[in-house]
Every structure is written in C-alpha cells, then in structure tokens.
Amino acid sequence: MLQGHLDILSIAIVTAAACALPGVFLVLRRMTLMSDAISHAILPGIVIAFFLTGNLSSPLLILAAAGTGVLTVVFVELLQRTKLVKEDAAIGLTFPALFSIGVILISRFAGNVHLDMDVVLLGELAYAPLNRLKIFGSDLGPVPLYVMGTILVLNLIFVVVFYKELKLVTFDASLAAALGFSPTLIHYGLMTLVSVTTVGAFDAVGSILVVALIAGPPATAYLMTDRLSRMIILSAIIGCVNAVSGYWIAFLFDVSIAGAIATMTLIIFVLVFLVVPNRGLIAIARRHARQKWEFAQTMLVIHLFNHEGLPEAETESAIADLHEHLSWDPGFTNQVVKYALSNRCVSRKETQLILTAHGRTIAQQALVQ
C-alpha cells in the first residue's frame, strides 16, 4: 500500500516539475494556450504511430506525438501569418481539427483498441504505477516515472544550458535576433520540449492536468518574485506542492487524482494571489485603505492649517461642525478625527481641534508638493 502511494506521488511530483520548467517561458511569452492545443493535437500522431508499431508503449509514439505537437505550432503560425486570423482563433481552429482526426482514426480503425477518451483527457494517475518496468524479471518501478524522469532531466538541461538565450528571446526577441540568437530556433526548441513533455505527461496524468501544471505553477510563481531564476525554481516547488496536496485530497475524499491536483493548482494560485506581500490582493486592499485614511487625515490637517490663527478659526475647527465644513459624513469625520488624534497630528482643546507641531509639518509638506 505504501509502495502504491509512493509510486503515484513520485510520478505526480516528477510530472509537475517537468511541466513547470517550460511552463515558465510559456507563461512569460503569453503562450500557455499553446500547451492546451498541443496536448490535444498530439492524438493523431499517437494513433498513427500506434498503427505503424502496433505497440502502445513504443517510444516511437512519443516521438510521433511530439512531431505532431510541433506541427500544431507550425499550423497555428502559418494561419496567423496570413494576417486574416488572430492567434487565439488560429489555435482554436487548429487543435480541435487535429484532435478530431485522431478521434476519427480511432473510431474507424481501432474501435477495439484500448485508447480510452476519458483517460486521454483526464488521465488516470491511479493506474499509472500498474505499468512496471521489468528487466530480467526484476521490478524497477513504474514506467511513467522513468519516462517523466527522463523528460524532467531533458527540460532541466535545456533550461540550464540555454537559460541566457531563453531569457533574451523571451524578453526582447528583436535584440536576440540582432545579436545572432535565432528566436525561431529557441522558439521551436521550446515548443519541441513542450510537446515531448505533454506527450509524456498525458499518458500518466491526462491532458487537462498537463495544461494545469504548465500554466498554474509558473503563474503562481510570477506573483511571488521579480527574478526569472527564482521564478523557475519556485514554479517547480509549487508544482510539487500542488501534486502532493492534490494527491492527499484525492486519497482522503476518494476522488480523481488528476482532478484534485488540477483543483489544488487553482486553489494555491488563489491563496498566493490573496496573501503575497506587496502585490497580493490583501496587501493592495490594505494599502488602499491606509492611503484613504492618510489622505483624509492630510485633508483635515490642511483645513485646520489654512484657518489657523485667523478670526474664523474657532468656527472652522469646532469638532462638532467639522463635517459641515468639509462636507463629510459625520461618522466618517469622527473616524478621521480619531485617526488623526491617534497619530498625534491634532489635539483636542475643549470643543476645538488644534494642530500639533507634527500635524503642522504634515500640512506644510503636503502643500509644498
């Protein structure tokens, strides 16, 4: 039983990390939908390679599917280049067509073959460990772990070796071209990697989870850091967190593992989106709130400052009448006065509100700006 957990968990973790690496560059290049397209469009490649080899676990299937993935990118770009179709529409036209060709091929020629549509889309991680790698009778572990492990290593090598080139092409493709780093070459290198990753992963976890793992962790990491290298590392870590937490939720509630991991991807993104310092939703809301009170306080001290020492000062600074002079809601005025009192910008003198030295400075500074 423990072995079963470990197998599934390790496949999920390795897949999540393998998807996060190219995912970072897809997210930064605003191309995440391409991974969705590739994950579907590879079906005819798999089917045709299966017809040729008659074997569902042939490595040729991965190559053929990866080839179809790159072909998808080419089709999309050719359509786009006509300038008659925008990128999103080009993707929308290309991948359902290719996917359907795969479906038609299966239903016409391989009705009795085990190529289940549900498994293609959602995958069945629970069954992944059943496919064992056996050499001379000894069990070396689940095949998908080896497949995804190899792909993870490939992705890691590509990202580490071509880190500089990937960064330059992603940030400024025209400078890259001017300096002699072919953006097209890097682009297709990355797309080949995305295709291979997608093919390898979809067998284990299904195409929906592939897209979730390619887009989710990098999008989450993007909120957390300003450095590309950290974004890559964080993406891999977040991918693993998603995989592990999703797996345990699936185990506890007895639901689809792939579904639970995909859901956790969104939940963790939303959590980070809310709580991350500086640019998280909560941090922004607090900053806005603070700015609102700060600004109201500044308005108050400027009002007091402008009338300070003048004949009308007594009426203008009467606490009870302040809301009328400023045309503020009485409750709001009360809160602003309390806020200003607690910040020692003003002090109470009988029925009057008078400026402290600190409050006078604030008013003067605000007026100078």
Binding site: L28, Y163, L168, T170, F171, S174, A178, D226, R227, L228
Partner: protein, 289 residues
C-alpha cells in the same frame, strides 16, 4: 557583389589608371576591373571613402504592399544621423532591414563593406521602449548585461566582467543607483536610459536607435543628446529614428527624410530644407523652417 553607388566608381576607375594600379594585380586572380570597381577591392578602401552603412536599392514589402521603395542611403562614419518622416513612412522598417530583422524584397545593406551577419559585434541596437514587456521578472543590471550576450555567444554565461561593464554603462546614463531595481518600477525615461546602457555595453561602432526620445522627460532627453554627441565624438556612427522636427538641427549633423522612398539625405544644412520637408510630409507638415 556591390559596385558602390552610381557616380562613385568612375573616379576610382580614373584613379586606377592615373596611379598605376596595375601593380595591384599581382597575385590576384580577379580581372583588374573587378578589383578596381569592387567595394572590397584595395582601391575602394581609403578611410575617408568608406561607408559605415551603405543601403542600396532596398525595397521591403509586407505581402505586396511596399513599406520601403528602392532606398539608397550612404552613412559616412562618425556622423549623428536622424531619420525623420511621417507615421508609416517605414523608419522602423528601415532600421530593422539594416539589422537583418526583416527580409528585403530587393536590395542590399552593407556595414563597413560587409553584410550584417559578419558585423553583428560592432552594431548596437536600441529597439523601441514599448517593444518589450516591462513586467518581465528581472532587474536593471540584468537587462543591461543582455548587451554582452552577443560577445559571449551561445551558452556561455555572463560573469563578473560583464557585470562590471554593465555597471559602467549604467554610470554613463546616470542609472547606477537603480542597478538592482525591478524593471517594472522604472519611469519611461529611466527605461529608455536602461535600453541605451544595454547598447553602450556592447561598445559598438555603429548604433541604431529606434525613437529613443519617445515619451521621455526633458532631463532624460538632455542626457540622451549629450550621450549621442559623446558617441559621435568617439568616432561612432549613430542612426536615430526621430520624431521631433524642431530639434533636428540642434541635435544631429546628418538627416534622412523618408516617406516610403528616400526624399533626401545628407548634412542637415543641405538636406533639411523646407522643400524636402514639404515633399516628405505633404500637406501634413505643421512645422516650417
């Protein structure tokens, strides 16, 4: 092979005979006229005659719509040249064609007598500020170091030396205090200075800049002009796509007037005439000298 522009080869031909050029033939398989007329031939190499940038008969089209029609442009070394013209005149396209970023339908570009691919190292490019995503997760120093990538070549990573070069370039544009700043926190003028620093780090001989004055504050504009003039003083050739006709005479010594075709090019006092401006801008010209 390029034979130079129309009226230039003839004097060389004359010169060849008057100076007894037959001695040049020894050890050379080329027939003498090839040798004499060729840009890369010995006789064409007098320093004063060499062109920093030579554009000949360049036509660029998107589909069948021409963006540049048969452009000829000779830029001598050490000038500060502005390319001006109305929106859609093809200014950016011309820069991109010189850089080999767009494929011409016809014509040829040479940088110091060689095609661009052979001269990458001596060309610094400053793209339009708006052409990149300033929310990209990186800091100022990192962006400036990208200027070193060409010299590093594939795979090799920037190191301590590149970091120092980048800091020096940042100092030249007055941005050294911002080295570790996230690029999304920069103002427009600061972004432009970072882009300039990135080109300076290349220590190029020829600089091509696409609208470096676009949307920058007056201080940055002054700083950029000073920098451009320093580059020229160092013997660099600087080509700038420019929008503001009012400042052309103050900032630049050469000008090219462009509107799909070349209207005029040359020293500002020769080419920047109201007739040429009217021809370039048609009825849309609000500014007259």
């Amino acid at each position: 092979m390029s034979y130079g522009t129309g009226n230039e080869w003839f004097p060389y031909y004359e010169q060849a005979f008057s100076e007894g050029s037959f001695s040049y033939r020894t050890g050379n398989e080329l027939p003498y006229y090839e040798q004499v007329f060729s840009d890369s031939g010995v006789l064409g190499m007098q320093a004063s005659e060499q062109k920093a940038i030579q554009v000949t008969d360049l036509t660029v089209a998107y589909q069948d719509k021409p963006v540049l029609w048969d452009i000829d442009l000779d830029v001598p070394p050490g000038v500060l040249l502005s390319i001006v013209g109305p929106n859609g005149a093809g200014k950016t396209t011309l820069i991109k064609a010189i850089l080999g970023l767009v494929r011409p339908a016809a014509g040829n570009v040479l940088i110091y007598d060689k095609p661009y691919e052979a001269q990458r190292q001596i060309i610094g490019y400053v793209p339009q500020r708006g052409s990149v995503d300033w929310d990209f997760p990186t800091n100022v120093l990192d962006v400036v170091m990208m200027g070193c990538y060409g010299a590093l070549g594939w795979i090799r990573r920037p190191g301590k030396k590149e970091r120092e070069l980048a800091m020096q370039a940042l100092e030249k544009v007055g941005m050294e205090a911002y080295a570790t700043r996230q690029i999304s926190q920069l103002s427009g003028g600061q972004q432009q200075r970072v882009f300039l620093a990135r080109a300076l780090v290349q220590d190029a001989t020829v600089y091509l800049m696409d609208e470096p004055f676009q949307g920058v504050d007056a201080t940055t504009e002054r700083a950029i002009v000073t920098l451009l003039q320093e580059l020229r003083a160092d013997g660099k050739t600087v080509v700038v796509v420019h929008h503001d006709l009012q400042t052309v005479t103050d900032y630049f010594d050469w000008v090219m007037l462009l509107n799909i075709r070349r209207i005029a090019s040359g020293p500002v006092d020769e080419a920047f005439t109201s007739d040429n401006l009217r021809e370039t801008y048609g009825g849309r010209l609000a500014f007259m000298k």
